[in-house]
């Protein structure tokens, strides 16, 4: 569940799929994602998260944000992750972490990844991007990273070296990512089932899409 899913909703739903039969749980997950992006996070306030969204979108459309309240290192790495994630390197990531703090970096990764995902889904359905989240006032929680996270031949500390847990240094960011990822892809509990289906789509067809996107993004993993 998203960290905001149990709080009283103060932001109206943003995604209207029109006549398309988008699964209700996916519509709800997109709304929760946008709600979460509008709120203060663990290390970034809501205004900064909204700026990360703008930078990420600008980078993917070929525009570089000239006026931006984010630290330069945050702006640059957000743009790179949005537009060309495979170009990251340990040197670049460590430099960004040194400049803005590793937990800030981990949270930023989650924000960029989610906004690109939502924009991608809507674009495939012929929808323009959602309006950028309207920031809600408040302070970041500054919840320290949990005990037990560590680097395991990875560039940042994480809960476990598998994709659903790579943002584990910021538990709310990890939860927000998985809250969107599972309705988009598949429930974690079904990961081990090679014969899994989502309606008429068989696991092999799901993985064909996954492999093609990963190839287009030059993602070796």
């Amino acid at each position: 569940m998203s960290p905001t899913a149990t709080t009283a909703p103060t932001i109206p739903p943003v995604f209207d799929p029109g006549h398309d039969p988008v699964r209700p749980e996916l519509v709800a997950a997109i709304d929760r994602c946008w709600d979460e992006l509008a709120r203060p996070g663990t290390w970034w306030d809501a205004a900064a998260k909204a700026e990360i969204v703008v930078v990420a979108r600008g980078a993917r459309s070929g525009d570089r944000a000239s006026e931006c309240g984010l630290p330069g290192a945050a702006r640059d790495i957000a743009a790179l992750l949005a537009a060309a994630p495979a170009v990251t390197s340990e040197t670049l990531v460590r430099a960004a972490c040194d400049a803005i703090g590793e937990p800030h970096y981990v949270e930023l990764v989650g924000v960029v990844a989610r906004v690109v995902a939502v924009d991608t889904f809507l674009a495939c359905l012929g929808h323009e991007p959602l309006a950028a989240p309207a920031p809600v006032a408040g302070e970041p929680t500054r919840t320290p990273p949990p005990d037990g996270i560590r680097r395991n031949h990875t560039w940042v500390a994480m809960a476990m070296p598998v994709p659903p847990f790579v943002l584990g240094a910021v538990p709310d960011a990890m939860a927000a990512m998985n809250d969107l990822s599972e309705p988009l892809y598949m429930p974690m509990s079904d990961m081990g089932d090679p014969d899994w289906r989502r309606g008429d789509l068989h696991r092999t067809q799901v993985e064909l899409v996954a492999a093609t996107v990963s190839h287009e993004n030059e993602c070796f993993y």
């Binding site: 889904f121 929808h127 790579v166 190839h215």
Partner: protein, 111 residues
């Protein structure tokens, strides 16, 4: 995961179909799913690949395929941003896939 799910369920997938439009991936709607996935990585709004996939698979399946494409925009970014290594065992298990798709030329192949 593609090779694994295909082997485990007795399906044959032509991996080269991911990179070569002339090759049939071998799954129902395979061409259309690959085209939708490719287009999802491009800029701008374009519903045509979704409609093409819907013509073959139905609109609900096409939308779910678009959702999978969106999810891998997350996954690709979080693994490349955190330096998650593939590990020696998985690299060995997927040697055929890596060779067929030319993955050794990708920036993170050495990690």
């Amino acid at each position: 995961m593609l090779s694994w799910s295909a082997i485990e369920t007795g399906r044959h997938v032509e991996l080269a179909g991911i990179i070569d439009p002339a090759v049939d991936p071998g799954l129902p709607g395979g061409h259309e799913l690959v085209a939708l996935a490719r287009r999802s990585c491009s800029r701008g709004v374009d519903r045509r690949p979704l409609d093409a996939a819907a013509d073959v698979l139905g609109i609900a399946a096409a939308i779910d395929a678009a959702a999978v494409a969106a999810n891998f925009q997350i996954m690709n970014r979080v693994v490349d941003a955190t330096g998650l290594p593939i590990g020696r065992r998985r690299r060995e298990e997927n040697a055929g896939l890596i060779a067929t798709l030319g993955l050794d030329g990708f920036p993170h192949a050495a990690h």
